[in-house]
Amino acid sequence: MSSQAAAAIQVTALGKKFVTKRGTFRRTRVENVALAGVDLAIQPGELFGLLGPNGAGKTTATKILTTLLLPDTGSARVLGLDVVKETDAVRRRIGFVFGGERGLYWRLSGLDNLRYFADLYRIPPDVSRRRIANLLERLDLSERQHDKVELYSRGMKQRLHLARGLLNDPEVLFLDEPTIGLDPVGARELRVMVRELADAGKTIFLTTHYMFEADAICDRIAVIKKGAIVAEGTPSSIKRVVEHEGVVEFEVMGMTPERLAGLRDLPGVSSVVVADHELAQLVTLHCAHPADVMTQLGVILVGADLKKVSSREPTLEDAYVHLIGEST
């Protein structure tokens, strides 16, 4: 009970399914399970990352916690408030940012966007004036504040999203894939800002499918797959899922299904991931004994153009692939 009372976000057995209908004349009901009994506890001031592939349930979880959706089963509390019954109180104390370019009034200036949302958050005018000026300055948008949003770069739009999410000085900030579509520099800048917000004491709930992002800034992460949490802990503890394994990577031209099967059949190999890399294929192989595997490569891939063979320690991404499953 004490940990529950102290948690900034407490989710218990959360379930949600969406019902859609297919067909024009013969309508059939289709149920899609988005969340299947999720449990989470996030402490105040924590930067928590929810990782998962597309359709795993990350956005649904975020939308329930931000009061945009109702759960079918289970409960969710933010700052001790029930997101179903105490909706207004939750909304006053949280902020949220969804990734992508939409979610702003493109024909209005950045300043007008913030003013409008400040009104909707019922922030007193003198407070909102000061806060908007501070946010524009902090997020490096002051010089372009009077320009229409349609003239902003993607990175500027995302920074404006973040400014909007911080307008009410929220205690908990939800960020749903905030760096999606940003260039590497813009994404890095945003990650730095998010880390600074967490260091300043805000609780942050971040969803992403970029492993390095979670590894770089999150205090703790959970991996979600098909609506269920399959792992939870610090990034280093998640990596331990594959600590007994090593990773062998190589580039090859002429990978065939037979050769792929041969790799999978090697003793100690747990997964093989193949990605196209220009004309060649980049193969990532998780295995218990990298040295043994490397000696076998020449035998299995005889006749293929093999190059850049290397062995390395597993990363969070390797742990993620292990947890989510192979993607060959």
């Binding site: 945009l68 493109w106 209005l108 949302f117």
Partner: protein
């Protein structure tokens, strides 16, 4: 309001579209031999259609635009309740819609040399206020449906056109068949429109009190219905997740 100023469609809605109806009405009704009542329909009809169309559809269009902008979810999850946001949109629509009278009356006066033959100032003012309340009640009640269903726009768009006929903006409702008059009687603008036109002619009847009472009474019923509808829409939107495009 600022979004309306920068939207070409919003400007066309109170200028061009009402002008087309006004020109049509004046062309048909501004002829020798027409009664003063018929002439009033020609002079005011286009403006009333513009006023109604902008008020009714502006807030709904606004909701639809919010969905396309991806801002519908953002405004849904703020501490300000949905009804207050839509209230602002509908009130903005009323102000914007009233502008429709500028081009249509100008066309009547300068283009067709037509003007209202008679006007009882006080009944006209009260009737126009009642009309405004009735437009507000209908628009305020139906706008949240745009938030709930993506296809609502097409369905409710049809109602905008139906109201042109049923509410008697361009010709008296008494010309309609009995069943259509019965349906028209359920719409608050029908009674207010009748009062507005009655105040512009000496021809009777002039049962203002009855018409105003019918307008206000029906408007109150619509607003009570709206209070239930808003609750329902907010709950259903949170169940189905229909606020987002994807």
């Amino acid at each position: 309001m600022r979004l309306r100023f920068v939207s070409p469609f919003a400007v066309l809605a109170w200028t061009f579209f009402p002008l087309v109806f006004a020109a049509l009405g004046l062309f048909v009704l501004n002829r020798p031999g027409v009664t003063s009542t018929q002439l009033a329909y020609g002079v005011l009809g286009g403006g009333l259609i513009g006023y109604w169309g902008v008020t009714y559809l502006d807030a709904g269009n606004g909701i639809q635009d919010e969905r396309w902008n991806g801002t519908l979810e953002q405004i849904f999850a703020v501490p300000t309740p949905l009804w207050a946001i839509i209230l602002g949109k509908v009130c903005g629509g009323l102000l914007w819609g009233m502008l429709s009278f500028l081009p249509t009356l100008a066309l009547a006066f300068f283009g067709f040399h037509a003007f209202l033959p008679h006007i009882d100032a006080l009944p006209f003012a009260v009737s126009f206020a009642a009309l405004t309340i009735s437009f507000f009640a209908v628009a305020f009640m139906l706008t949240p449906l745009f938030a709930l269903w993506r296809w609502a726009f097409s369905m409710l768009n049809g109602f905008e056109l139906g109201a042109y006929v049923l509410c008697g903006f361009m010709f008296p409702v008494t010309l309609l068949p009995q069943w259509a008059q019965a349906v028209a009687g359920l719409l608050p603008p029908t009674w207010a429109t009748r009062a507005v036109y009655a105040s512009t002619t000496t021809e009777g009847p002039h049962d203002y009190v009855v018409w105003w009472a019918a307008t206000i009474g029906l408007s109150v019923v619509y607003l009570v219905g709206a209070s239930f509808l808003y609750e329902l829409v907010q709950r259903k939107a949170r169940v189905s997740g229909e606020l987002a495009l994807a």
